[in-house]
Chain length 234, copies 2
């Protein structure tokens, strides 16, 4: 019998586990002894939050980030071949969504291991739900290019695709550059284009608003600096 | 004080609430008296499952489907203006994602009401997490066209976009046509293209496998008939 690779979502910032995880996640976490993580400290803190009684010292952690050698990644799945379960925990939100976890999942799939994703918060999905935009067709494209003119070109291309294909276009920015992106969107997009900003999703300070570019221009912009945000054009 | 529009996910089939909803969802549900739903019977059953003690007769239900007049939809949000919360419940999964709920969210956003999405299961997101495909760039495109040659053309276009833009392409089919779609994907796509099939997500019978088209062709296909499935090309 081989084990299972569980994909375990983390909170999006300092929210309570009760508000974002089903009770099942805790049960599964309590049965796992091997964890693949980006940063051991974050995940220790996460596990303690899920259940104070977890004996962290009895667990094995394997570090996965963009510098990890693919061969080493494959070795992280050895416990599965030996019948033990392995968990992948994200730094925030769902593993393998805008997150390096996808590489280890891909290896597990190639080896034919069972992969089980657990329910948890995704700012992309929650933002889209609350945007009022088309949820029958949508795309997430990650980060925009940093340098001009590539950046403005990409914004225009996303705006065209939103209009021509009726497909909501979702993207993110490094939080300290959010305000710059917001201003750029207001400069580059057409006044009738709809822009949704979803900030601090699942936190008490959650802010999710949809307005046309023209409406956003008329108002004082929300403070997005250093607050995790997603942006959606439609 | 105006109320809040809560977006409340439903189970994906007959799974237990404990395995897919955070405890917070139940607390919020217990405080809501007005529900916008596609089918009143499904939602009554859902509410009873969340908490047997809910007094269904004290609740007001408003029906939303593709035949509902937009003016009527706007009237469903009246309780919010009067300071009461309103819940939108999906037939399965997350409201406004591949679901008519987006229209009512759009009206709420236009009116400036607070919209709060709750965490729950999305077969699209869970399937993508477990696929091992690119989660930094992905698109969901809903249903494929039914008639040929449009259908094959669309499959080829999605396959090209997956390769050229490095963007995972997610789509669905009416469950009784799943096997036909599966066969068609094997015929139309290149042998090295990766296809993930995610079936009965969050149920005990959950099946999520990624293989190349060539590998899928060599094996007995999984039984997908009438089982809700998502398909991802990469």
């Amino acid at each position: 019998m081989t084990g299972t690779l569980y994909l375990i979502p983390n909170t999006l910032g300092e929210s309570e586990p009760e508000s974002v995880f089903p009770p099942r996640n805790r049960e599964i976490i309590l049965s796992i002894k091997h964890y693949i993580v980006e940063d051991v400290r974050t995940v220790r803190r996460f596990l303690k939050k899920v259940d104070k009684s977890i004996d962290i010292d009895s667990l094995t952690f394997y570090t996965l980030n963009k510098h990890t050698d693919p061969k080493e990644v494959a070795s992280y799945l050895k416990p599965i071949a030996e019948g033990q379960d392995v968990g992948v925990v994200s730094e925030a939100g769902c593993p393998a969504i805008a997150d390096p976890g996808a590489d280890v999942v891909s290896i597990a799939q190639k080896k034919g291991y069972k992969v089980v994703p657990l329910v948890g918060p995704s700012s992309i999905l929650l933002g889209l739900m609350a945007s009022g935009f088309n949820g029958q067709s949508f795309a997430f494209v990650g980060y925009l290019p940093i340098d001009e003119p590539e950046r403005s070109k990409t914004i225009k291309r996303l705006e065209s695709r939103a209009h021509n294909e009726n497909q909501s276009q979702i993207f993110i920015e490094t939080p300290y550059r959010n305000m710059k992106l917001m201003e750029q969107l207001l400069n580059v997009c057409q006044s009738s284009t709809l822009l949704c900003v979803a900030c601090d999703v699942t936190l008490e300070s959650e802010y999710i608003k949809t307005k046309t570019i023209a409406e956003w221009k008329k108002e004082k912009l929300p403070e997005l600096n250093k607050r995790p945000s997603i942006f959606i054009l439609y």
